[in-house]
Subunit: 219 residues, 2 copies
């Protein structure tokens, strides 16, 4: 049986601590990369699971072991920004409000946090026209809601199931989603108007609405 070569020489863990989980993680990101490349090149519907698998030199069966559908292959890329956000929730300092803390996390995410920003931008754009990708995108954020709810509940001394906590977590979540979508949409205008260009400003502006509420808005 012709064994597939390691996905990439520099990402393989040769000699270093074995760590089987690491291998899986690398494989998933490799698949995600190949998938997004093919999606952007040929379109989602024209890309088959066989295409993605063949690109990496793995069998189709193995591909479906890593992801349950071809659209979900790009999930690791779409979670990139949120992973950093939710990760930093663990070190949420008491003197900062949640929005302040998230704003600073957002500033980090833009710079070095996410390795392949260009692919992510392409992906988020594709979610507009590709229902399958949009479903993944929405689900990624839906999963993040849970994490936000736990963080908020923990801080406020409430249960994550409290209605206000769930709504609050969802509000935070959509603010980040809308900011990301807007960033993706306006990313290539580059040297245009300097209103809300970088991710940090967008996140700040979006979270501001969440912070203040709709009261002063739609009355």
């Amino acid at each position: 049986m012709p064994r597939a070569e390691s996905p990439s020489p520099e990402t393989s863990n040769r000699g270093r601590p074995p760590m089987s989980d690491r291998r899986k993680h690398i494989m998933r990101t490799q698949i995600a990369r190949a998938a997004v490349d093919l999606f952007t090149a040929k379109g989602v519907s024209a890309t088959t699971g066989d295409d993605i698998a063949h690109e990496l030199g793995i069998s189709t069966r193995t591909l479906w072991r890593y992801f349950p559908s071809k659209e979900s292959c790009v999930r690791p890329l779409l979670t990139g920004g949120l992973d950093l956000m939710t990760e930093r929730l663990r070190t949420w300092p008491p003197e900062l409000s949640l929005t302040e803390h998230l704003e600073r996390s957002g500033a980090l995410a833009e710079d070095a946090g996410v390795p392949s920003m260009a692919s992510m931008i392409d992906l988020i754009r594709m979610t507009r026209t590709e229902p399958g990708l949009r479903a993944v995108w929405l689900d990624v954020h839906h999963c993040a809601e849970e994490v936000f709810a736990e963080a908020i509940a923990d801080r406020a001394g409430l249960t994550p199931d409290t209605l206000s906590v769930r709504v609050g977590a969802a509000m935070i979540n959509v603010a980040l989603r809308v900011a990301a979508e807007r960033f993706a949409d306006h990313a290539d205008h580059e040297a245009g108007d300097e209103d809300d260009k970088d991710m940090a400003d967008l996140i700040r502006a979006a979270l501001e609405v969440v912070e203040d509420g709709l009261g002063p808005f739609t009355r």
Copy 2:
């Protein structure tokens, strides 16, 4: 070719104004009913498109002409509540705030607005465990965001693309979603604690968080 009998005698438009669109709409709701019944009875993964089609006496090919996947067959049921909400946005009186207006709409929805409330509750519960149904549920609400954005923008004299408008619409939207999910989860406890029992109270409480914002919450 054995023609399928009309889905139901009383829902067929025999002799009355022709109206081809009406037939389609009836067909869609009939399919949705059959789908949710089979999903609750056998589970989603164990239900095939053939099952749904056979239940209605139509061919599988026709089923896929009405819906692009078996999960999306239940979409008409999941949009029930939101349809009423967005429809009533057209008659949003100037003297009411958006949340006030939506609260009243919510009170209507509970009573007579949605015909098959029981099926909807079952469906929303299933979205927890069935990824395919959750995707439909999230997408239904995502589509509603667009409508809310237009309504808010229209009232505020802004473009629907304004960041604050989009975030605001998304906030409204998730509040309604969380309220619906909570209602579905706590629906059968019936005569338990009288905290947040009916839909109207839940919507009111959820929209209150949106109205006030997270400022007084996570600081």
